[in-house]
Symmetry: D2
Subunit: 283 residues, 4 copies
Amino acid sequence: VDHGRLLVQCPDKPGIVAAVSTFLTKAGANIVTLDQHSTAEEGGSFFQRTEFHLAGLPAARDELERGFAIEVAEQFGMEFRFSEAAKPKRVAILASKADHCLLDLLWRDRRGELDMQVAMVISNHPDLADQVRPFGVPYFHVPATRANRAEAEQRILDLLRGNVDLVVLARYMQIITPGFLTEVGAPLINIHHSFLPAFIGAGPYQKAKDRGVKLIGATAHYVTADLDEGPIIEQDVVRVDHRHSAGDLVRLGADVERAVLSRAVRWHLEDRVARHGNTTIVF
Amino acid sequence: VDHGRLLVQCPDKPGIVAAVSTFLTKAGANIVTLDQHSTAEEGGSFFQRTEFHLAGLPAARDELERGFAIEVAEQFGMEFRFSEAAKPKRVAILASKADHCLLDLLWRDRRGELDMQVAMVISNHPDLADQVRPFGVPYFHVPATRANRAEAEQRILDLLRGNVDLVVLARYMQIITPGFLTEVGAPLINIHHSFLPAFIGAGPYQKAKDRGVKLIGATAHYVTADLDEGPIIEQDVVRVDHRHSAGDLVRLGADVERAVLSRAVRWHLEDRVARHGNTTIVF
Amino acid sequence: VDHGRLLVQCPDKPGIVAAVSTFLTKAGANIVTLDQHSTAEEGGSFFQRTEFHLAGLPAARDELERGFAIEVAEQFGMEFRFSEAAKPKRVAILASKADHCLLDLLWRDRRGELDMQVAMVISNHPDLADQVRPFGVPYFHVPATRANRAEAEQRILDLLRGNVDLVVLARYMQIITPGFLTEVGAPLINIHHSFLPAFIGAGPYQKAKDRGVKLIGATAHYVTADLDEGPIIEQDVVRVDHRHSAGDLVRLGADVERAVLSRAVRWHLEDRVARHGNTTIVF
Amino acid sequence: VDHGRLLVQCPDKPGIVAAVSTFLTKAGANIVTLDQHSTAEEGGSFFQRTEFHLAGLPAARDELERGFAIEVAEQFGMEFRFSEAAKPKRVAILASKADHCLLDLLWRDRRGELDMQVAMVISNHPDLADQVRPFGVPYFHVPATRANRAEAEQRILDLLRGNVDLVVLARYMQIITPGFLTEVGAPLINIHHSFLPAFIGAGPYQKAKDRGVKLIGATAHYVTADLDEGPIIEQDVVRVDHRHSAGDLVRLGADVERAVLSRAVRWHLEDRVARHGNTTIVF
C-alpha cells in the first residue's frame, strides 16, 4: 500500500528532476524508478514519471499533494498527478461478438497480470455472456442499432458514469460519438485491426489482402473525436504471404490484436502513458 | 550450368502440376523444387515455379521451350518462361546521395549472395563515385533537375536500353515518368522508406514521427505508373519510441530499407516473384 | 469431405514429383498444393506433402491407397500416408496447474482455428477443472507423485489408448517415461519454456535471468526418450531487458509458449510436419 | 562540447537520485536524461546513468569530479565516472577474413552513426586491407598461428596499449588468452555467431542446422576469461527453416551479427552499458 506514482508535465527547463526528487526524498519517499522525456532540445515539453515507496502513503497523500503543489509545481507551471499502486483502476470492457480481446483481458486479469478491477462488460450482442460468466464480471447487453444509437449510448453512459476509470473497446463494433466522449468522463482505449495509419476505417484485413502487404498489424490508441486518429499507444505486426486468405489474416491478426491491446491497457493501468498532442510517451 | 527454372501462369484447372512435371521428367530433367499457388478455390489464376536439373540444359533449351509450348502450354493457355541459373541477370542500380542501399547491394554481390552482374551505377549526384570505384562497376553521373528531366531520362535510357534485365532504385530520389517505364524494357524495383500504404509520398519518417507510430518500416515494390502503388515484394519494420527523433527514424529505417531491398532483389534474381495484378506471389 | 492429403517419404531420386502428381491426376484428383523437400543434393531423403480434391474421397480412399502402393510407392521405396481433412484428429491435452497453454488451445478450437476434436484433458492437479468445464471437454484428474508414477502413467495410458491421435503436453510438469512413449501409440508434442537448446531442464526462466540473455523463447517439439532433445517443430522469442525479474520472464514467456504451441499443434493437425531424424520439415 | 555523462554504481539505498540530481543542478548542469536501475527490492546494487549539459564542461570537469567525490560519492560508497560526449572513444577493430562486421562498423562510423575514432584495424589475414583502405584507417596485418600465438599477441598488445579505449572483435577468429585480457587495458566486445548460451564454441551454424532450430541468432558480449561466457550486451535472431542449408544460415546470420554488434558497440560508446556480475544493464 506504500507504493506511489507521480506523473508530471510542464514546459521544459533546468532543475525539474532535482526539484522533484529532492521533494520526494525530503518527504521520506524512496524513489524506485524515475523516467523523464523532453520533446525538444529547447522549448519543449517535459514529462516525468516517478515511482516511489513512502511508508503510510494512503494517510500522507493529501499532504504530499498540497506540499508538492506549493513547493514544486507552481514554480515550474506543472500539471501533476499522484496515484497509489494499491488502488487499481476500475475498468469497463465493451465488446461485440469477437471474443479474443475480451477473453484475453479477463484471463490476464485473473492471472494477476493486469492491475485493474473489471467493473463490467457491456456488449451490443448477447453472444459472449456465457464466456464472461466464469470470470464473475457483470455482463450488460445493450442492443445497438442505427435507429436506437442515442438511446443505447445513454444506457451505456448510465452504466459507466462514476463507476469506471477506463473504458476499453475490445473489438466493439459500434461508432463512438463525440457526445459520448464528452460525457463518459474516462479515457477510452480502442484496438484497431490494422497497422495505422494504413487501412483506416472498416474492413482493414480485406484491404490488406487486396493491397498485397507482407505484414499486417494492429494498433491500440486512445479514442478521440477523429476516427482512428487518436494517440497511438502500441502497435505490432505479423508476417503474411500470398497463401493467406483474408480469413487467414483475420485469424493471424486476432493474435496481434489481443497482444497489442493487453500491453496498451497494462501500460495505462500502471500510469506509464502520457499524451502529448496526438502522440504518446510510454515510460 | 544445368540448373534451370520454369515459371508458368495460367487460368487454374485440374492437371497442371502433373502435366508440367511429367513433361520435365520425360525431357530428362530432375525436379529440384516445385512451388505453386492458386489465387482462388475456383476460377482463379494458377502460378508455378519449378527448379530442375537437366544435363546439357544450354544446348537443350530451345527444344525444351518448343516442346513445352506445344505439349503443355497450349492446352492450358499458359504463359511460361524458362531461365538458366547460370546466366545471372544484368542489373543497373540508380542512386542519389544516400549510400546504404547501394553499398549493401554491392557488398552482397561481392560476397556472392546475389546472383547478378552489376552493369552500372547511375546517380544524379557525383557523391558516391569514390565509394563505388573499388567494386569495379561503371559509375555514370547524370545530373537531373526539374528543368532537364526529359533530357536526363533520355541519357539514362540510352545507358540502360538493351544492357540490363533489372533496374534497382536504391533510394533514387527522382521521379520516374510513365514514358520512362514504357521505354526501359526491364522491370524496376524501388525501395520506399515507409511501411506502405502508410505515409505515401515524400518525407515518410517525419510523417511517422508526427503521427507517433510505434513501428517504422520499408517497402520494396515494382515500379508502376502509380507512385508508391506498385506490387509489393517485401516489407519489414523496426520498433521505435517517443525518444527517437525524426533523425533517429532515418537512421533506424536505413537498416530496414537495405535489408528489405536486398531480399526483394535476391528473390527477383532467382525468379521467385510472380506478379498478379497489384500484388506479388513470392515463392 | 473431398479434401485429402498425401504424405510421402523415400530416398531421393528423379521422377517422384511427376509420378505422384500423375497418379493423382489419373485418379481424378485435383492437386491443390504440393510441397516437397530433399535433404541433400545427392543421396538425400525426399519428402512430399500434397493436398488434393477428389470427389467421393471417403468411398474411394481404400482403392486409392491400394493403387498408390502398387503403382508408385513400390518403385520408389516410399513410405506414404493418405489422410482426409474431414476427419479431424482426436487430441488429449495434458496439463498441470498453468492454464495459459491449455486455455489457448481450447479457445482456438472453439473458434474453429484448430482442426481437432479434443477428446479429454488430463491433469495431475484438480485446479483447472472449472476452467475446462465450459468447453464441454472431459477433465480427468490423475494425481501423480514420485511414489505413484508407474500407477499414474498406467491410468493415463488406459484413458488414452485407442482414443487419441495426438497427445499435447500443455505445460504438463511430470516426467514422461520411455515406457509411456512406447505404449501410448500416438505422437506427443511438448512445449518447453526456453529457446532450446539453451536452458535445457528445469527452471529455464531463472537460468535465463541469471545468464542475462536479451531474448527469451519457447520451443514446441515432439517428445522422444531424450528429455528436451526431440525434433523441434516451432520456436519463437520475445525481447527482455535488465528491468525484467524472473517473474516477468515467466509472464512474458507464457505468451510465447502458447503462441508457439498452438502453431505447432495446428501444423501437426494439418499433416504439415514431417520428421527427419532429430529435425522436422514443416510444409 | 558541453554534453556530459555521469555513471554511478553503489549499494542501493534511499536518496541517491535526489543527491545526484541536486549536486548536478547546483553545479549549474541541466539534466537531459536520467536512467537508474536497482537489482533487487532490498539489498541490491544501484546503477544510474545521467546525461547533462553544463556550459564550460571541459574546464569544469576536474572540479566537478572532486566535488562529486566529496559531496555525493563518499556517503553512498559510490563508484562513479564522468565522461564527455565530445571526446569519442578510440577503437581498434580486430578481424580475420569475414568482412561484414568490419565493413558495417566502418561504414556506420563514416555516416556518423557511431561516436568513435577508429584508431586501427588489425587482422591475422591480409585479405581485407583493400576494403579498409577507402575508409582511411590504418590496417595492420599480424599473422597468427598456433605456433606464434604468444608473439602475435605481443605485437597486437604493442599496437593497442595506450592507444585505444575499446577493442571490437569483428569476427576475429583467434583465441584471446587471459594474459591478453589482463594486459590490454581496455574492454573487448566480441560477436558470437549464435544465440548464446546455445551452440557455444566453434561451428555454431552447423550445430544449429544439425539440431533443427527454427531461429538462429547472434550475441554481442564483453570478453572475459571464460570463452563465450562474458556479459551479454545484445542478441537478436532470424527465422530459418528446413530449406536452409548450413551455408544459408551463415549468410542469414551475417546480417544479424553485424546488426547486433553495431548496436552493442554504439551503446558502449554512449556509456549506456553497465556490467553487473555476468550480466549487463543497458540504459
